[in-house]
């Protein structure tokens, strides 16, 4: 029988974990493909350092001025700012991706107490924790310099507030981890997150209209916040500044009660993980449903794709299903009418909020349409992003890649047509449509710009593929070259279109832009058709890169 290794101390295990994290980071950067990531990391590091140092100065100044000017109770605001950053930032960094790195440690012979301590140590090594601790110390230093008498209370409050925050952050993190372990939940949360980010665009017009009536509601809410930890920490410092040691101790005690409660909850969560929590992605067994897909089959039978070649129709159907199952992409489709609504309330109509006079539809309409095309065509530059290992199916089956592109482009154009129609309806109701020559010129320009871009976007998809995951935000970046190309093409086509639109004004011929765009649209369509066969050949040349990138 083999000898079993001796027990190791908690400190040794923490050191091992720290070394492991460092090696993973270092080895990841050593990979050839990650050189650009290293440069990015250096820039991000420099930016983060400036942010942390700059805000540390601001927190020092805040702590100093609140205490020295006799407004020590306002220091609670600084505790709230630190608290919100500490708890909210990690959620954004987690980015709705599943990550079980910390849990993998459970395969090793750790005691629950060691697992707990390592869990907290993990929390303290996060950027949010390091930054928040810097700000907390700066604020404490500022307050202490202003009034040295607060130092003893600060020495108790800062560690208690740190332990409270790191415990709560780990607790929330472990709950999020459990929640996001399920693909469907992850995707729903991402969709809600994107939807709320879009909704934020309406915050400014909303506040402009209803901001004043909201103020009394907010001031009524404020007293209820006083029982929360950041307010308790602030009150303890304020009481110390007013030499009310009893009051300070009561607030500190309140904070410690929170620390004990959340520590208990975190211990329970970690104990569940320690005993072996099931976070499997595999769904529960389904009830037998023999021939249950008959409904789906009959729905498929009745679609209108019969006029297309079977392979193109199959790609269109597959693309449509992928789109409806990709929360992020699906929500992007809601954007155009919403954006028309938003911009028309800000710049157009009878009561624009951001300009004194509404912008004329003659310029507003083409500008708005250009913006929508810009948004909707962006994914076309990396159209295989979500295929994953399925890309092999295209190369294994007897299909020419031109048909794959035709299927993908056809669905995109159909969606674009629907979206633009919706946007035009919203535009007509909110602002009104431009004169017929400008309206027709804009529609022809859309055809020219869209079809003109599709060939280049198809080439970009083959040449600069980048794998993206459904329902994740973390590490979801397009290829830099694809982004640059899309940007360049859109600037060139946008520039040409603007020149042609203005040419109508300069020559005094209102119909000239429409005629020119119809000619260009026809040329773009001919170019698109001519490019299909070369793209088919290029796909064969690039297949290894595509498969390697997307199956990774």
């Amino acid at each position: 029988m083999a000898d079993v290794g001796p027990r190791t101390s908690i400190l040794t295990q923490i050191k091992l974990v720290a070394r492991l994290r460092w090696r993973i980071l270092r080895n990841n950067l050593r990979r050839k493909n990650n050189r650009l990531d290293l440069i990015g990391l250096i820039f991000a590091g420099a930016f983060a350092s400036i942010l942390v140092v700059g805000l540390s100065v601001a927190f020092y100044a805040g702590g100093y001025s609140f205490v020295s000017q006799g407004r020590a109770s306002w220091i609670a605001l600084l505790f709230w700012a630190i608290f919100l950053f500490w708890q909210v930032f990690p959620v954004f960094v987690a980015g709705f991706g599943s990550s079980f790195e910390f849990r993998t440690l459970l395969r090793f012979p750790l005691r629950l107490s060691t697992f707990y301590v390592i869990g907290l140590a993990y929390g303290l090594a996060d950027f949010s924790a390091v930054a928040a601790i810097c700000w907390l110390l700066s604020m404490a230093a500022g307050a202490t310099v202003a009034q040295p008498g607060v130092l003893p209370v600060m020495l108790l409050i800062v560690p208690a507030f740190t332990v409270f925050n790191v415990t709560l952050e780990r607790l929330l993190g472990s709950w999020f981890e459990r929640l996001f372990a399920r693909r469907r939940t992850r995707e729903i949360f991402l969709a809600l997150f994107v939807l709320s980010a879009v909704s934020l665009q309406f915050l400014s017009p909303f506040l402009q209209r209803y901001g004043k009536s909201l103020q009394p509601v907010l001031s009524r809410l404020w007293p209820y916040l006083s029982v929360f930890p950041p307010s308790l920490a602030g009150r303890a410092v304020a009481d110390a500044a007013h030499q009310d040691l009893g009051g300070a101790l009561v607030s500190l005690l309140g904070l410690l009660v929170y620390v004990v409660i959340f520590s208990g909850l975190l211990w329970q969560r970690f104990a569940v993980q320690y005993r072996g929590e099931e976070l499997s992605e595999t769904s529960a067994p389904a009830r037998p449903a023999k021939r249950a897909d008959a409904a789906a089959s009959s729905a498929e039978r009745g679609d209108a794709l019969g006029v297309l070649a079977p392979q193109i129709a199959a790609v269109v159907r597959k693309e449509f299903r992928y789109l409806t199952r990709n929360g992020f992409a699906f929500i992007t489709l809601l954007m155009p009418p919403l954006l028309v609504l938003l911009f028309s309330s800000q710049f157009g109509g009878k009561h624009p909020t951001l300009s004194h006079r509404g912008i004329s539809p003659e310029m507003f309409f083409p500008g708005m349409m250009a913006y929508l095309v810009l948004i909707l065509l962006a994914p076309a530059y990396n159209c295989f992003a979500f295929e994953g290992r399925g890309i092999q199916t295209y190369f294994m089956s007897p299909v020419r890649f031109r048909n794959v592109f035709l299927g993908k482009n056809l669905l995109l154009v159909a969606i674009l047509a629907l979206e633009i129609t919706l946007a035009i309806v919203v535009f007509a109701l909110r602002v009104g449509l431009p004169a017929p020559p400008r309206f027709l010129a804009t529609l022809a320009a859309i055809v020219f710009v869209v079809v003109g871009q599709l060939s280049i976007a198809n080439w970009s998809s083959l040449s600069f593929p980048r794998k993206l995951e459904f329902g994740q935000m973390r590490n979801q970046r397009q290829s830099g070259m694809a982004v640059l190309l899309a940007f360049g093409v859109q600037i060139v086509l946008g520039g040409i279109s603007t020149l042609i639109l203005f040419a109508g004004k300069w020559t005094g011929n209102a119909w000239l832009p429409a005629e020119a765009f119809i000619f260009l649209a026809a040329a773009a369509i001919a170019g698109y058709v001519a490019a299909l066969d070369p793209l088919d050949q290029l796909a064969q040349t690039k297949k290894e890169v595509l498969i390697e990138t997307l199956c990774r």
């Binding site: 083999a2 595999t282 449903a289 199959a314 299903r321 199916t393 190369f395 294994m396 299909v399």
Partner: protein, 261 residues
């Protein structure tokens, strides 16, 4: 003389300085159940990828069912089915949707595709999860679906890269029976597996690749005759180890792990 299903001449694939497959000459007759063996990194998957159009050879020729692959890839692909390494599934489709998609990509009409999909899903015991996305399937279920997709168009050659990995014993038994029936009807099965017992039980012919080179090829009986020992009694494992060991490749020595043994 049986028709040749797969014929390669000097098939070579290099990745930079590494020659993964080095001048392989394969000959597989139609209707054979053919096992393609080799240690890890020997070049099995690279060869199968080239034979199925997922990877372009650096040099050499491939001829499948009498058709040159390089000049008629679409014609060749119409007649073959593949379960590649990693399975190549569109994970955001349901099993039914994926089979419908693949059937139509192979040019089947929609009614035939629907009928075959239903039958295959029943056979693979996947019919009770009509609304489950492939992403939520277990590994074994994904493998069974990949197999269903590979045969939906009734291929004349079936390439299978580790087909039984992760598949339960019940389904594996049914699959073996299905594959056996396919070869009886003239289809050719080209299979790679690390489980030598499976290959020995299923395959009539075997080729062994090692460090990118084909080191043995023939029927099991022919291979048995070529290695030392009592004639006709060696297992495939013994044959495999004997052939791989001939170039001086050493097996890991247990004596080095004294602290464990």
């Amino acid at each position: 003389m049986p028709e040749t299903a797969i014929l390669t001449e000097k098939l070579t694939r290099r990745f930079g300085n590494l020659t993964a497959v080095d001048g392989v000459d394969l000959q597989v007759a139609a209707g054979q159940f053919f096992g393609f063996l080799g240690p890890n990194g020997a070049g099995k998957s690279t060869t199968i990828k080239m034979l199925t159009g997922l990877l372009a050879p650096t040099s050499g020729r491939m001829n499948l069912l009498g058709v040159d692959f390089a000049s008629n890839p679409v014609d060749v692909k119409r007649q073959i089915g593949v379960v590649p390494e990693g399975m190549g599934l569109f994970e955001r489709l349901t099993g039914t949707e994926y089979l419908h998609f693949v059937g139509q990509m192979y040019g089947l009409d929609r009614a035939t595709t629907r009928q075959r999909s239903e039958e295959l899903l029943e056979f693979m015991q996947l019919a009770d999860r009509p609304k489950t996305l492939i992403a939520d399937y277990s590994h074994g279920m994904q493998k069974k679906l990949a197999l269903a997709a590979a045969v939906i168009h009734g291929p004349r050659i079936l390439f299978l890269d580790e087909p039984f990995e992760g598949v339960d014993a019940l389904a594996a038994g049914a699959l073996k029976a299905l594959l056996g029936r396919m070869t009886e009807r003239g289809a050719t099965i080209f299979l790679t597996s690390h489980v030598l017992e499976i290959v020995e039980r299923l395959c009539s012919h075997v080729a062994i690749i090692h460090k990118g080179r084909l080191v043995a090829q023939g029927s099991l009986e022919e291979l048995r005759r070529g290695v030392p020992g009592e004639a006709g009694t060696q297992t495939l494992e013994a044959i495999f180890l004997s052939i791989i060991g001939q170039d001086g490749t050493e097996r890991p020595q247990l004596e080095e792990l004294t602290w464990l043994t």
